[in-house]
């Protein structure tokens, strides 16, 4: 039932994803939330590349998907940190409690 090859990578990916999810839900520092998002994206990339190795070993579909995930991650970090700087300039804080500008 437990095949050592693919399953171990998928379970590692699931563990890392859940650690990242826990961090996103609990942290109050916005920069730490972005770090945990990066952990989640890396976990997804591990599972995509494991699938690429074991399920599509010749066409490399999973690795191509992982490249696009990396592109989206880079864009996400750039925009996210720009937003953090803008809010920090207004509020002098990176605490999630103070990120309520859009709330009314």
């Amino acid at each position: 039932m437990f095949s050592a090859g693919l399953d171990q990578y998928l379970i590692l990916s699931a563990v890392l994803f859940c650690i990242g999810l826990f961090g996103v839900l609990t942290q109050r520092n916005v920069i730490k939330i972005i770090m945990c998002l990066e952990i989640m994206l890396n976990a997804v990339n591990i599972s995509l590349i494991a699938f690429s190795q074991y399920v599509t070993p010749v066409t490399l579909t999973g690795q191509i998907f992982a490249i696009f995930v990396m592109v989206v991650a880079a864009a996400e970090v750039a925009v996210g940190i720009a937003i953090i700087f803008t809010v920090y300039r207004n509020r002098e804080s990176v605490d999630m409690e103070n990120f309520n500008i859009l709330k009314w």
Binding site: Q8, F22, L25, T26, R28, M70, A75, A82
Partner: protein, 161 residues
């Protein structure tokens, strides 16, 4: 042999991922995140994804972690770190339930694995797949436009009036 290497990398990856959340000093958390990125690159090497491992080092260890460290340095009250929010126990329950469901699904699924020998060197096939005639050329173009617009958007957001 490979099993031992994988076990070591997995232990370091999970430990550094936990350290990112647990460590109070946010600069040390960023260093733990860099360690996690490097172990993930090692896992890519184990999976014969040599190009992806190099891209992981270049993009994550080189660029994204530097961006995060710059953000840490430029925000003043980030250094001492804050305690966990009041969502702690629901978050534990949600994450544990998700982990249980996903692991159950992984263990009980019979994946269709072809018997082909995996490619040992992936740079040339990846280039042909990304830029070849029948490949992902349109997706590559869309990704480049998205990256350019994201960078322009970041500059527009951050610029002082």
């Amino acid at each position: 042999m490979l099993e031992i290497v994988f076990a070591l990398l997995a232990i370091v990856a999970v430990a550094s991922a936990i350290a990112v959340i647990v460590v109070r000093d946010i600069f040390r958390a960023a260093l733990c995140l860099i360690l996690l990125f490097m172990t993930v690159a090692g896992i890519y090497l184990l999976l014969h994804a040599d190009f992806l491992a190099i891209v992981q080092i270049l993009v994550y260890v080189g660029a994204i972690s530097i961006l995060i460290i710059v953000a840490v340095m430029l925000t003043r009250d980030a250094r001492q770190g804050q305690p966990l929010g009041n969502l702690k126990y629901p978050a534990v329950i949600v994450a544990a339930c998700l982990l249980g469901v996903v692991v159950f699904g992984i263990v009980n699924t019979a994946f269709v694995m072809p018997d082909n020998v995996p490619l040992q060197e992936t740079v040339k096939p990846l280039g042909k797949a990304l830029f070849g005639d029948s490949g992902y050329l349109l997706t590559v173009e869309i990704a480049t436009v998205m990256l350019l617009s994201a960078i322009l958007g970041a500059i527009a957001v951050i610029r002082e009036k």
